[in-house]
Amino acid sequence: MSGRAIVITSGKGGVGKTTATANLGVGLAKHGRKVVMVDGDIGLRNLDIIMGLENRIVYHLVDVVRGRCQVRQALVKDKRFPNLCLLPASQVDQKEAITPEQMRDLTAQLREEFDFVLIDCPAGIEQGFRNAVAGADEAIVITTPDVSPVRDADRVIGLLQSSLGDPQLIINRLSTDMVRRGDMLNQQDVLDILAVRLLGIVPEDEEVVIAGNRGSPVILNARSRSGQAYERIVRRILGEEVAIPEFNGSGSLINRLGRLFLRR
């Protein structure tokens, strides 16, 4: 049986794609699944750092596609979970070094061996995006509850719908305080605009930054709020019904945005 290939994407950079990929990868591995994380961000490799695996890389994705090595030679085994692997990106090549067709073939090959192929998509909607999406059959879109990432997520959802159908959504870095004060879009504001299924909400949490710098994804810290949120998301991906806690305050930023024109 072939595994699930899920691309994690956002349009906007810096909203937490790589962090989410790392946490979902570790989480799924914790639940006993065979997982490979593919760093699709050729030229701007990051996933290895978040995973704390940068010193183990020998070959990378472009080497595999170019036939300079076997897939298994390029896979970096995680130091915590033997059933978790990373296929690192090349740091020296350009996005154009591979084609969507090559990505499709590579993903198909990985799906034979793994239960989950998680593809970390680069920011933007150009070739890197098309490469990352090519082999996937599901998509997770990440956004923060801010106006411009939401608009970029909307654009990406529109692009995904033509090939993969409706993606699922993770709202990252939601600040309960700011929502309560009405200074941040709340969950419902975001869902009103994006109109896709909500996979989970990850609250703002400085533990994420600390974990990233330590190379130890926050999901491994069972006491952190964000780690718990990722754990719930992982269980939802595995088909469990897990309630999404409400992070809503009373105010809504949209309600405070200006109306227009002359109204009578």
Binding site: G158, R259, L260, L262
Partner: protein
């Protein structure tokens, strides 16, 4: 072609495209031969024409159809639909992927249709327009769904959004001041009607009004009012 007697086939230049009326009594091999000769004489005249094929009550075999189809394709004709009365022929043509109709007369009537006035056509869409997506239509646009920020509608006439309008709509493009924009939740950052542009008032703090509203041009500026279903031209 056989001299004197019934023609093996005739071509009529109807509105839907050249219509081939095949004699349904003569042996089909002769008909095919005549078609082939005629098209050769036409010297590419019918290339890329949308053709209609009328078989009358002929019982068509698969081989006969394939031979005819090959000739028509070779001459570059685009087959639109067939007219046939014999059930076996209808089934064959249908299975071969060609739409089949009952009669030519009916289809000709359909061609006429109601008289069209410029701007009286509507483009009907039932989906969300997301950021980066754009719809352009010379007539009116009716969209059941949301128009998100970063999405755009450009309509020659009115625009009606059964949902939330956050993106940019230009109704009455380029200079129709009579056009209106109606939305269940009208909260765009910019709205254009004909030559006029309205912008969101950045200073004011209004609450989101959850009621249908209508935007139109009054006294040389865009005005938004609650819409109570009493639409009439200002």
């Amino acid at each position: 072609m056989s001299g004197g007697g019934e023609e093996l086939f005739t071509i009529k230049g109807l509105k839907g495209g050249p219509t081939f009326l095949f004699n349904d009594q003569a042996p089909f091999a002769e008909v095919i031969k005549a078609v082939e000769e005629e098209l050769a004489r036409a010297n590419g005249f019918f290339r890329d024409s949308p053709a209609i094929l009328a078989f009358g009550s002929r019982v068509l075999s698969k081989e006969e159809w394939r031979t005819l189809k090959e000739i028509l394709h070779r001459e570059g004709l685009l087959l639109r639909y067939a007219v046939a009365t014999e059930p076996a022929s209808r089934e064959l043509l249908y299975k071969e992927g060609l739409p089949v109709r009952d009669s030519l007369a009916l289809s000709q009537e359909n061609k006429k249709g109601p008289p069209t006035i410029k701007g009286s056509n509507a483009l009907y869409l039932r989906r969300n327009l997301r950021s980066g997506q754009k719809e352009v239509f010379e007539g009116n646009v009716v969209l059941v769904g949301d128009v998100n920020q970063g999405a755009e509608i450009l309509a020659g006439g009115d625009t009606i959004v059964f949902g939330t309008l956050r993106g940019v709509v230009h109704a009455g493009y380029p200079d129709n001041k009579e056009a209106v924009v109606i939305a269940l939740n009208l909260i765009p950052l910019q709205l254009r009607i004909g030559p006029f542009i309205g912008r969101a008032d950045e200073g004011q703090n209004h609450r989101r009004v959850q009621q249908p509203e209508i935007a139109r041009v009054k006294d040389e500026r865009i005005v938004i009012e609650p819409y109570h279903g009493d639409y009439r031209r200002p």
